[in-house]
């Protein structure tokens, strides 16, 4: 009982760890916007590209350049939460400027000679902005609001950091729009007070933390690059080559040379044959494959000139399969042929289905059950110059099959007849030779 309890606890722990790892692997791009404007000029900053998150270092560098010379008075409007989505939702950006909740803010930005807006500033901790400003201005922040500010006297010979906290909507009493509108009112008041005081200042509007965090799902940790879809396949086996005077004279390649004597198939292509007894001369080639398992395959080819086509053709006259003293012969002369200088290729050479190798009628009765089934078969017995490559492969399958030809003939014939008939019908016209537009129209008498 306790063992199973502890194992389930372990499983729970493992799940927590996994979830934690999962969540931590997701980088959440937390960002707050920052709006900065000044009553005098600010050093220019190139507006960041859309979606670009400005890093703290960039901000530090900019603030150094902005607050570098002389004492600065900085008004920091720090809203509890702020994200650029707030501007999108409540800023009247869809052509409804009058509904905007940031009217004073916009007016201030427009009125100031220069302003900087960073829509996405990297956010990691809520105290970063304050700490940064403290460091830059070398002064601690003074918490004010609209009332206290009007009574405050600002010493312009030293830097001042005035902090105004603005609430964010909690959704309990007022709507977000009202809260932001009120904040905007406070901003407007403060700015007008500052203007009345005649103090030169720089104002910043940002959030203590982002109001919306959209966790980014990081892609898998693998490098995202293009890779070849096709992996390098297994190496292709060499064709069987019979060499005569150093160069291949007969070549044979097959994906599999299946034979069946009693019903189960044996692939001879997996075994290594010896080529004793093979002959290769100009007009006859005989390839004899003797396997250690006792089978012997003989491919007999011949080539000669055929007068009608005036070219040399070679034929695979017969394929013989021998086991011990039983021999079966299959005639390939009729179907397996190619011009003598090319090789013959066929995807399927069988003796029982779409037969290219016809069993000879002289075969021993005991061999009637024997079957041959060669896959992806290519053979060449003549015309191998001195390379080890097959010549152009004349395939057993043509471009159009017989069925396609028959269909084409009948359908094209019927189409032609149809077009002819359509043409005739379309050129029938009503006779208008005797039309006389000025003459009396035809009258059909009602009575006989």
């Amino acid at each position: 009982m306790s063992v199973s309890g502890s194992s389930s606890k372990v499983r729970l722990m493992a799940m927590f760890v996994l979830l934690f790892a999962l969540f931590s692997s997701q980088s959440s791009a937390a960002q707050v916007p920052l709006l900065m404007w000044s009553s005098e000029g600010l050093p220019p900053l190139a507006s960041p590209a859309a979606g670009h998150i400005t890093s703290n270092d960039q901000l530090t560098a900019y603030l150094t350049s902005a607050f570098g010379s002389g004492p600065n008075t900085v008004l920091l409007f720090l809203q509890d939460k702020l994200s650029k989505e707030d501007f999108t939702l409540f800023g009247g950006v869809f052509g409804n400027k009058q509904d905007s909740a940031f009217q004073n803010l916009e007016a201030a930005l427009q009125a100031s000679p220069s302003s900087v807006s960073l829509p996405a500033l990297e956010w990691s901790d809520s105290s970063v902005m304050l700490a940064l400003l403290q460091e830059k201005l070398d002064v601690s922040p003074v918490l004010v609001d609209a009332d206290t500010l009007s009574h405050l006297s600002i010493n312009t010979s030293a830097s001042n950091l005035l902090l105004i906290n603005l609430p964010y909507c909690t959704g309990l009493e007022k709507s977000c729009k009202e809260v932001l509108h009120e904040n905007d009112g406070i901003i407007g008041e403060v700015l007008s007070i500052m203007k009345d005081k005649g103090v030169r200042f720089t104002a910043m509007y940002t959030g203590l933390q982002p109001s919306r965090v959209i966790p980014e799902r990081s892609m898998s940790q693998q490098a995202v690059g293009r890779s070849l879809l096709q992996a390098v396949g297994p190496t292709v086996k060499e064709p069987i080559m019979f060499n005569e005077t150093g160069n291949p004279c007969i070549m044979l390649w097959a994906h599999s040379l299946n034979i069946s004597l009693t019903g189960e198939w044996i692939d001879l292509a997996t075994q290594t044959p010896s080529l004793d007894g093979s002959i290769c001369n100009g007009s006859n080639s005989l390839l004899v494959l003797t396997y250690a398992s006792g089978y012997i395959l003989r491919f007999a080819m011949s080539q000669r000139l055929y007068k009608v086509s005036a070219r040399n053709w070679f034929t695979l006259d017969s394929v013989q399969l021998q086991l011990k003293n039983l021999t079966a012969s299959y005639i390939g002369r009729r179907n397996i042929y190619a011009p003598a200088e090319y090789s013959f290729h066929c995807q399927s050479v069988t003796s029982f289905r779409d037969t290219l190798l016809v069993p000879s009628s002289n075969n021993n009765k005991n061999t009637t059950q024997w079957k041959l089934n060669f896959f992806d078969f290519q053979i060449q017995g003549f015309g191998l110059a001195n390379g080890t490559n097959f010549s152009y492969a004349s395939d057993c399958a043509g471009f159009f099959t017989a069925g396609i030809w028959m269909g084409l003939i009948t359908s094209l014939l019927m189409l032609w007849i149809f077009v002819y008939g359509m043409h005739m019908i379309m050129q029938l016209n009503t006779m208008d030779r005797f039309d006389d537009p000025k003459g009396p129209s035809i009258s059909v008498p009602q009575t006989e």
Partner: protein, 211 residues
């Protein structure tokens, strides 16, 4: 001038299709020649691999359809003339139906031959050229040839009789004595349809399809 030549939309279509067809043939033929693949163009393979049944049935179909086209064309020509002439000279109506009958005879030849030829089609059990056998090939080709023979003969016979009959009707409308003489011309015209039938019968006399 080019605009006037090509004004007819049909002409543009037909020229376009013809040009496309012959261009394809030319390009394919040229490529085959250049790449020494001329041996692939094998007429003997085509004639032995296509089924004799296709040829036989094409013959039967063409026998009846071409004959009917001839008859229809002839009747259309003659009929229009008889009806037109009959408006002013109603007496020609009955006599000139003979021309229509001559045209119709052509269609009857066609259907008789189609039935005769289709009775010769039997099934056979071979699938390869060797097992099909020469006799079945001969049967298929003979039936195709006979169908073509009777079809085209009747086609032109029908048109011929039709045009002559049309002339006969109009001449008859003008002058009633002319009709009998013109009928002789029509008889000669319809004899040629009969020639086609005779030759087709001779072609299929030796046909024996089957195993």
């Amino acid at each position: 001038m080019l605009l006037e030549c090509m004004m007819n939309g049909h002409a543009i279509l037909y020229t376009g299709v013809t040009v496309a067809f012959w261009t394809t043939i030319l390009i394919v033929g040229t490529c085959y020649t250049i790449f020494d693949l001329g041996f692939r163009f094998d007429v003997a393979w085509f004639l032995t691999e296509t089924s004799p049944f296709m040829w036989a049935n094409l013959g039967i179909g063409l026998a009846i359809s071409l004959s009917v086209v001839g008859a229809a064309w002839g009747i259309y020509i003659t009929g229009s003339s008889i009806i037109g002439g009959g408006v002013k000279a109603p007496r020609i109506k009955t006599k000139n139906l003979v021309s229509i009958i001559f045209c119709e005879a052509v269609a009857i030849y066609g259907i008789i031959m189609a039935i005769v030829i289709s009775n010769m089609a039997e099934s056979f059990s071979g699938t390869t050229p060797e097992t099909i056998g020469a006799r079945n090939y001969q049967a298929g080709y003979s039936m195709f040839g006979a169908g073509l023979t009777v079809g085209f003969s009747n086609l032109f016979c029908g048109i011929c009789v039709g045009i002559v009959g049309s002339g006969a009707a109009l001449a008859d409308a003008q002058n009633g004595n002319l009709f009998v003489k013109i009928l002789i011309v029509e008889i000669f015209g319809s004899a040629i349809g009969l020639f086609g039938v005779i030759v087709a019968i001779l072609q299929t006399s030796k046909v024996k399809m089957g195993d």
